[in-house]
Assembly symmetry: C2
Homo-oligomer: 300 residues x 2
């Protein structure tokens, strides 16, 4: 067994096998590379066209979080983008291979990338890249300021237009990054996308959950909304505590009238909104604390 590298960033190139490969050992399909060295060709369609899919998962004290949910979504994203189905067993093995070599304590970001490969090339390319998570302790306690931004699409369009890939977590993420810059320009920390006709979608890198009338609500995953892995964990936690949870359409007006709003994501975890579109917003920090305690205690 290789000694843990204990250093970050850590990069693993993966030679992706077909989903139906009968192999059970994958060691020779993994190659550790120095993260500062070039590893991708300029012909990479990830780099040329944002053509591929990804997942970002957290590793907490040696436990990769919500692996099954992330790999299920990776497979969904790949199917929407008509990429070959990823080999789940190989990806699980890659995550395990990495985790064995990562620091055993602390919070780590594990990014899985599955690209269409090199232009005119024979096969997808794949890699895993681990970095130290930023310290989100403060923001988990103090909350964030959010702004709503129009995502341009009317409600229900994504379901009629699968080529817009709204249900896939693709590498074409420039709009998500631009939305965060717009939020910062408006003096906020994060954004919540609305449809053109005023329904709540999701954050550029997060899932929205609100509490209204004693029920915890998340906009229904759909052609336009990714099913949040962290939101699923929070709903499980709430259900176990006897709380009511619901997926349904949420209007911007309902968002603004909610008792509390959270943005959930894999590494920052749960943060509550303390300001929405420039106005103070009610929050329940003790619930955020409970969500994060539950999330950080996950061992799978």
């Amino acid at each position: 067994m290789t000694a843990p590298s204990q250093t970050l960033p850590f990069t693993l190139l993966i030679d992706p096998l077909p989903a139906d490969s009968p192999r059970g050992h994958f060691g020779d399909t993994f190659r550790e590379v120095d993260w500062t060295a070039p590893a991708l060709r300029v012909g990479e369609l990830s780099a040329q066209r944002g053509d591929g899919v990804f997942e970002t998962l957290g590793v907490v004290d040696g436990h990769p979080q919500a692996v099954a949910a992330h790999l299920a979504r990776l497979a969904t994203s790949a199917a929407i983008c008509e990429l070959p189905a990823p080999n789940e067993v190989q990806w699980r093995a890659a995550i395990a291979y990495a985790v064995e070599r990562l620091p055993e304590q602390g919070e780590i970001v594990l990014k899985l990338v599955y690209s269409r490969g090199v232009d005119s090339g024979p096969a997808p390319t794949a890699w895993l890249h681990a970095t130290a998570a930023p310290d989100f302790g403060t923001v988990r306690a103090s909350g964030i300021r959010a702004v709503t931004l129009n995502r341009g699409y009317p409600h229900g369009v994504a379901e009629q237009t699968p080529w817009l890939l709204m249900g896939a977590k693709t590498l074409s993420y420039a709009v998500n990054m631009a939305a965060l810059r717009e939020a910062h320009r408006r003096g906020a920390d994060d954004a919540i996308f609305l449809t053109h006709d005023g329904f709540v979608l999701e954050g550029p890198t997060s899932t929205v959950v609100l509490r209204a009338g004693g029920v915890f609500v998340s906009p229904a995953p759909s052609g336009a909304i990714l099913h949040g892995t962290t939101q699923q964990s929070v709903f499980e936690h709430l259900q176990a505590a006897g709380e009511r949870t619901e997926y349904r359409d949420v209007t911007a007006d309902e968002l603004r009238a909610a008792d509390a709003v959270w943005l959930l994501s894999s590494v920052r975890l749960a943060v509550h909104v303390i300001e929405l579109d420039g106005r103070p917003f009610p929050a329940v920090p003790e619930l955020t604390r409970a969500f994060n305690a539950a999330l950080l205690a996950r061992t799978s």
Copy 2:
């Protein structure tokens, strides 16, 4: 002077200088690399998030085409994406450096990529990648089958939502590629995007021009439509021949009722539509021939 490499692909990594750099010689900012070797780090935001901008230009018998228009659009795209302004003189020098080393005959695709750089890195990264153009002789003569696809956005939304980056040619091109796959699935060769409410936008990799009532019309460049470099050359050609050209809103019904429709792009150049949404479409192949003769004769 270096001997021409005369081989393709040809890759040049560029160390991008600020736009206001006073330098006049750029040789030490260019580095030729073997296109089969890794050249990019996995931390590249181009590969991780499609976060960057690009241009694709044609080189015909040693003449790079419409360089000024492409570099102007690269600068516009960079501004929309809040990237540092590209150094136009350096990019011109990079193109010249490459062209000196490329085969002197034939049609070549020159792709310019300007990425936000490595995650948390200090500066953008840039490269130029030259490949042999596919043989488009047949399709220029025979035309293409096109389908209209809903781009999801209502008319006029892009102008209100600059964070959707619709006016920038970004590396987040997965939707454009998915639209081409959808066109192929429908038995066509290419797509024409419409707004959700039925206005003509552009092709995934081309500009639309139609002839209606004796006037050559292209949908007005806007927050949602890139200004086509090849379309600009064709309009100049038409104006020089005394024809009327116009930019204006075009509805899907007007598109379907047109005398003829062309898709214009930098490397395939002009192709006429012979089938639209499964129905035979009128074409004027002799005009396509004239357009392509004029385009191929450009020396700048």
